[in-house]
């Protein structure tokens, strides 16, 4: 029982190759052809897609919905940002930091490393109670976690600069770092999916009672999934922070949580490929609609301001996908394991 799934590893390798190709192409296009704003969007896309993959590592394998992963993203971003900022900036806006952090001006590896450590501690601390809870309770608990972390970040002015957020975070990241990060996260998720821990968690997802009867330690497997996905999230989140010059607590709350979960649903909860494809679809849709939010003139016809249209459309899309194809585009399949019939509409088999 303590073995890896050869099939999943093979599928994973093919999938990784396909996704890596996509990411590499995007990176090359960014470096050679895209202007500043489009570059920004494309780079963000790679990082957001990585985060969705990280969430998928937990949600897809366990079947448990988590609203709390953005909390890991937040912690990673703030720790990496604070670690990398210059001491003079920090003295100005976050005066209550402990001395060692205040004096620190870390480079990329140290900042990311620190963020991973912080999230590891946090994930272990929360994972212990969470992995003992039953399915519905844990979803509500992760929601509480999101609110908790957001609330603390928002209020702790001395350490996080409160609602105004961190400004002056150095840009330590280039396109190739982002590419590398995305590849690591995707590889990590695919490997976990094929690993004994991933497989056992999937067994629990399918039938908790039967899995327990087979001797699978349910709570422990959920714990492993929680921590693994938290670390992947932290990796992407800290790199994201070092790519964004500034960020505020409002970015780590409901809107982003919902957007990422939407990407997961559209792509298919059980699939890493789905997470990436879902992220792509929603990102494209959001960009197209974002133009409409401020109102625009299309060939003489004036479209009025429509605040929140992006969210509305995303929500509508989720509803449609759920009704027409509840398991998402990819269901439980990866690119490496596709057969033509999987693209039929309706309640696809997974």
């Amino acid at each position: 029982m303590n073995s890896w799934s050869g099939r999943r590893l093979r599928e994973g390798a093919v999938t990784f190759a396909a996704l890596a190709l996509v990411f590499i192409v995007i990176a090359v296009v960014i470096e050679t052809a895209l202007g500043r704003s489009d570059s920004r969007i494309a780079t963000e896309f790679m990082l957001i897609a990585s985060m969705v993959v990280a969430i998928q590592a937990y949600v897809g394998n366990s079947g448990l919905i988590s609203f709390g992963h953005v909390a890991f993203y937040a912690i990673a971003a703030y720790v990496a940002g604070l670690a990398a900022m210059s001491p003079s900036d920090k003295e100005r806006i976050t005066p209550d930091l402990p001395a060692w952090l205040m004096q620190l001006e870390a480079g990329l590896p140290a900042a990311v490393g620190l963020a991973l450590l912080a999230v590891l501690i946090f994930a272990v601390f929360t994972g212990v109670p969470f992995s003992r809870m039953n399915a519905s309770v844990v979803s509500a608990a992760t929601l509480a976690l999101l609110v908790l972390v957001h609330s603390v970040i928002n209020l702790w002015n001395g350490v996080t600069h409160g609602p105004l957020g961190l400004v002056g975070v150095p840009d330590l990241v280039n396109t190739w770092v982002v590419l590398g990060t995305s590849l690591i996260v995707v590889a990590g998720a695919l490997i976990y999916r094929a690993s004994p821990w991933g497989l056992k968690l999937q067994a629990v997802r399918e039938n908790e009672v039967a899995a327990a009867a087979l001797g699978i330690p349910v709570a422990k497997m959920r714990f492993v999934g929680w921590v693994v996905s938290a670390l992947l999230m932290a990796l992407a989140g800290s790199v994201w922070a070092l790519n964004s010059l500034a960020f505020a607590p409002s970015m780590f709350y409901f809107t982003d949580t919902f957007a990422m979960l939407a990407m997961l649903v559209v792509g298919g909860l059980g699939s890493v490929s789905g997470a990436v494809v879902g992220a792509a679809i929603i990102t494209v849709l959001s960009e197209l609609l974002r133009g409409l939010e401020g109102g625009l003139d299309v060939g003489g016809v004036s479209v009025p301001e429509l605040p929140g249209i992006v969210q509305l459309a995303t929500a509508g899309l989720i509803l449609i996908v759920l009704i027409a194809r509840p398991r998402g585009l990819f269901g439980n399949q990866e690119i490496g394991g596709l057969r033509p019939r999987h693209f039929a509409l309706g309640r696809g088999r997974s």
């Binding site: 079947g63 919905i65 929360t126 212990v128 109670p129 003992r132 809870m133 039953n134 399915a135 519905s136 309770v137 979803s139 509500a140 608990a141 929601l143 509480a144 976690l145 609110v147 908790l148 609330s151 603390v152 209020l155 409901f254 919902f258 979960l261 939407a262 649903v265 909860l269 429509l306 605040p307 929140g308 249209i309 969210q311 509305l312 995303t314 929500a315 509508g316 989720i318 509803l319 759920l322 009704i323 509840p326 398991r327 309640r347």
Partner: protein
């Protein structure tokens, strides 16, 4: 702390707890029958609140506006069942988490676009701001009204559940949905009834909420949703009695933290409450429910 202040805070906690208990009950009713949480639940409150604000703003007397508001809330609840739950009856359980979430965002978006993204104030009638003085104890009139209305609502719910055929069917369905169908009870109708009851409770809570806060904003439904979840989880999922207890417990913890914590930490009350809840769940993942279950077996 003086005894007067203690009593006042106690009443305050009871009043807030009444609202939380109603909220928790509404959520628990649907959960007990369907086994699913309604993420568009907070929007029932939002719709009720906006209905009241708009009607009172147009000159309708408060009492009538309140009734219409509750009816609007019931409508919202039924709509959620029809749009987010019914079409996904055969889908995996997590699907309705997303679909009801989506409904919630759609409602918020629509309010932002059709009415206004900015909060709308309610002109609360003067007498509701009044205070009752008993000796040296000052009790807000609104607190008393809140407690009385909430208790009446809960008593009414209990008598419907215990005394009517449909109520009996709902209790049976909460326990064993399949077997209830074998008795000839139509599944669809039972579920609609559960959502209607849920909508009534949330609607009444919405009335009390808007009277208390005086303003409605598009995303106002989130906090009530969270409070209801926390209360239901504390009380043990699916236990109606537990939901009520959970609601009061949550209120008391919140008020206690606000009263006894040093003022520098007070803004963190919500965060600390959530920490307390997570801690409770660590030691008792089933919430309060276990004790009640043991009594039955």
């Amino acid at each position: 702390m003086s005894p007067e202040l203690l009593i006042q805070q106690f009443v305050n906690a009871l009043s807030i707890g009444s609202i939380y208990a109603l909220l928790a009950l509404g959520l628990a009713v649907v959960f007990s029958v369907l086994g699913l949480l309604n993420f568009a639940y907070g929007e029932i409150l939002t719709i009720t609140a906006y209905a009241i604000v708009l009607l009172v703003g147009a000159g309708v007397p408060l009492a009538i506006a309140a009734v219409i508001g509750v009816i609007a809330g019931i409508g919202m609840s039924l709509l959620t069942e029809v749009v987010a739950f019914r079409p996904l009856r055969k889908a995996p359980a997590y699907a309705v988490v997303f679909s009801s979430f989506a409904v919630s965002l759609i409602v918020q978006s629509l309010i932002r676009n059709v009415i206004s993204p900015r909060p709308q104030g309610l002109a609360v009638p003067g007498w509701l701001d009044g205070v009752l003085t008993l000796g040296s104890i000052r009790i807000p009139v609104l607190a008393i009204i809140t407690i009385v209305i909430a208790v009446l609502a809960m008593v009414a719910l209990t008598s419907v559940l215990q005394g009517t055929k449909q109520g009996l069917a709902m209790r049976a369905a909460a326990e064993d949905f399949q077997t209830t169908r074998l008795m000839g009870a139509k599944a669809g109708r039972l579920i609609l009834l559960a959502f209607a009851v849920s909508g009534t409770l949330a609607g009444i809570a919405g009335v009390l909420w808007i009277l208390r806060t005086g303003s409605a904003s598009p995303d106002m439904g989130f906090t009530p949703l969270l409070q209801a979840f926390v209360a239901v989880v504390l009380g043990g999922m699916g236990s109606l009695r537990g939901a009520v207890l959970g609601g009061f417990a949550l209120a008391f913890v919140e008020v206690a933290l606000q009263v006894f914590l040093p003022s520098a930490i007070v803004p963190y009350v919500q965060a600390i409450t959530l920490l307390v809840v997570i801690a409770v769940l660590y030691f008792r993942p089933q919430g309060f429910a276990k004790k009640i279950e043991e009594r039955v077996a």
